[in-house]
Symmetry: C2
Subunit: 453 residues, 2 copies
């Protein structure tokens, strides 16, 4: 029993505050723009679809935000989550690197998403809202919100990206078990959906448009977003705070922190508490964002103001984008099929704090199977991108004969992705290409907004 | 944060010994019988399919058995598992009862089964065996053995009960991801399978026959059983030992311990450490076994010597049985579709220490959905039977206005059972009847073995 594998905290170690990295970023944050006027958008632009509690968190200038008691109570259903030392994977790779992973798949919904879902459901319930609408890609976010709504007595209506709806019927059943209503997107229920019937595989951008449209048109209904926005990233920082305490238990400090990036909330949740130390000059470490080659926003996108959704209903945000109506190929990592990224993440990539790398679908599944056969846990396709990057780093450490300490986010399990594993193991998983031409066409359709430095 | 919801142990609290309840049972244990001679079977009858390490555990007369270091290392991948206080369910039920559950779904395979799978894979690897065969019902056991074999470098060949193979394709994919080979049972690969092609839904009994037949016919191959046998129940006692420590942290002592029973290993794992205290006169508590009305071995079966498998290849064991060739209706709780029960469990039922109750499929799903919507976790259909019994006990406590302390085993999650939830939520889940006539016919086909008192 001399070599610990897990580092476990107790309930009283659940962080009582979220880390608001907004105040650490150099310069003033670039404002979102009103989609009609292209003028800076203020809190008032958000009140039709968000409760005031979340809007205050979105623009907070406090370095830390207290977590409400009822949210902490909900967190206790699965937090603190374990930190593992991947000793078996290290041996399998023959690397001198020490690999740690923070596992968020122990939540009822099976990913990190409930960290923000319960916070959002709580603030909406407190504001007297009766129903939340949202989009979901692979189904992780929709499941999380369905679960959170069941805890706080809210109705939940989910627009699920068509390609995932078809590939993952059991994610739909899971949402329904928690009492939610699920629509395949694009649907015929909204103008945004009816306008997109040609793109039958759908996209996160289209599904967001549908959910926003429904929320904006009903008095008792709000919208809930699973990533990208400041308050969502804020809520996820419980992950990194716990991980920091657990790395201390392990007696190690990360040299590199790795996570997958779709909208950026998983990555931010793990990394931001460490980024605060680096920006404050108390530590030196690298941050590595892994994304799909089929939807390479951080590595290939343009840094521009763009809408968060396909129909252009949301404020414009400063971000790396492939164009809001770019429809990524239907890779299984549905949670990474988003045309943009969180502005805070994009700013840190611009500033050189975060490095981004893109990986092909098949190489990420190869990494995931290797991980499953050594560590046991079967990863979701999204964190499989992080694992691919981890193996790259661990092999580089072996070649350099260097004791590198790697920390990565295993943000969810792959129990609803086994048809993709099936295809991979049968050698029949496709490896879709990214179309530069389609991106360039989509970028030409961007609105005339101020250029970014 | 005043009301704890989870009781967590650290890695160094993983039990280092298994509890062997065999030595606590009154009188000498009834011996298994050789299937050909009907004479008491000794260890030598088991060597063609089991390694000596497990045979020694099967017949051990030591009150505790040390857990090998390598098994403890494997346990650290998911143990200790959490104990929860079901505060939200208590409020939902309006009961004065305090409800606790020990959650084994955090293991990589999603159930309690890896507790014995890693112990069995280790002993077989140590004995130089190259391949393990087994049966699986719902796929929980097959997944667990596939996972364990991947840790100890063994090949794994799984015969999966036809009805589950059809209902749960992703359980098959999971086993394949860990490197196992999976056959639909009854298969055409074995004599036992070819003789049963008429029963296309299959049964655990048939699948066991197939796996035993393959193991007995190959020199480098052994068989591995996921329940029923003494050594399997022994391995599961880590659950109850941890739960006892966690109940102490919670400052409570169970009045009633509840679990579902298929072969009996989940129930034994949770209950036996507590049963030891009761048999030793150090405590008083009730033990409640929940089983499906469609396969009611403990409540309706005959107490007789019977084979463990359908084809009659295994030793005969003293147990409650519906007849070894009785094929239960294809309920979704595949892990409870077994014609008999562990002899140790049956003895305790006979002795009045354990009480058994049977529940219909639809009422167990109703209980499971109620649980999912209050506690978050979506249970497998097997522990849904335990939850049904828990609700019954909690409601009785409310009517009696009594502070009852209930501990139950939530032995697995339902991530691979969502098609059944789908059917339940749509009002389309069938509620198959048990056929007394079919049981009586099956019992008439039992071999002439000594009658049991």
């Amino acid at each position: 029993m001399s070599e610990p594998v897990k580092f476990l905290l107790s309930e009283r170690d659940i962080p009582e505050r979220w880390v608001n990295l907004l105040v650490d970023l150099p310069g003033d944050p670039l404002p979102p723009l009103n989609p009609q006027t292209l003028e800076p958008a203020g809190p008032a632009d958000l009140t039709p679809i968000f409760p005031i509690g979340l809007i205050e968190q979105e623009v907070s200038s406090e370095p830390e935000v207290a977590i409400p008691e009822q949210v902490l109570e909900a967190y206790k259903l699965w937090r603190p989550t374990p930190l593992f030392r991947a000793r078996r994977l290290e041996r399998e790779l023959g690397t001198p690197a020490r690999i740690y992973y923070k596992y968020e798949g122990v939540s009822p919904a099976g990913s990190h998403k409930p960290n923000t879902a319960v916070a959002q459901a709580y603030e909406n319930a407190r504001a007297g809202v009766k129903r939340l609408t949202t989009e979901t890609g692979a189904g992780q976010w929709g499941s999380a919100l369905a679960f959170a709504c069941s805890l706080f007595g809210l109705d939940c209506e989910v627009f699920m990206v068509g390609s995932s709806y078809d590939q993952k019927p059991y994610r739909r059943s899971m949402m329904q078990t928690w009492g939610a209503t699920v629509h395949r997107s694009p649907s015929t229920l909204t103008g945004s959906g009816r306008g997109q019937q040609a793109h039958s595989t759908g996209s996160l951008g289209i599904a967001i448009s549908e959910a926003v449209e429904v929320a904006a048109s009903r008095e008792d209904t709000n919208y809930s977003l699973g990533s990208v926005l400041n308050h969502v990233l804020l809520h996820q920082t419980v992950i990194g705070q716990e991980a920091a305490a657990q790395m201390e238990m392990a007696g190690d400090v990360p040299d590199v922190v790795i996570g997958c990036v779709g909208g950026g909330s998983n990555f931010a949740g793990l990394a931001f508490p460490f980024v605060r130390r680096v920006l404050g000059g108390q530590a030196k470490m690298r941050f590595l964002a892994a994304e799909p080659s089929a939807c390479p926003t951080l590595t290939r996108g343009a840094y521009r103001y763009d809408f968060g959704d396909t129909a252009g209903l949301t404020p414009l945000m400063p971000m790396f984008t492939l164009g809001h109506d770019f429809v990524p190929p239907p890779v299984h990592a549905g949670g990474l099929r988003y045309h943009g990224d969180a502005p805070m993440i994009c700013g840190l990539v611009r500033a050189g704090v975060i490095e981004a790398r893109a990986y092909r679908q098949n190489e990420t599944f190869a990494a995931a199977v290797r991980f499953a056969r050594s560590e046991g846990i079967i990863p979701a396709p999204e964190p499989a991108h992080a694992i691919r990057a981890v193996i790259e780093e661990a092999e580089a450490a072996r070649e350099a004969d260097e004791e590198r300490v790697i920390l990565f986010g295993l943000c969810g399990h792959g129990h609803f992705d086994l048809s993709a594993y099936d295809a991979y193991l049968a050698g029949e998983l496709d490896d879709p290409e990214f179309s530069t031409q389609e991106m360039e066409e989509a970028l030409r359709r961007l609105p005339e907004a101020p250029a970014l430095a």
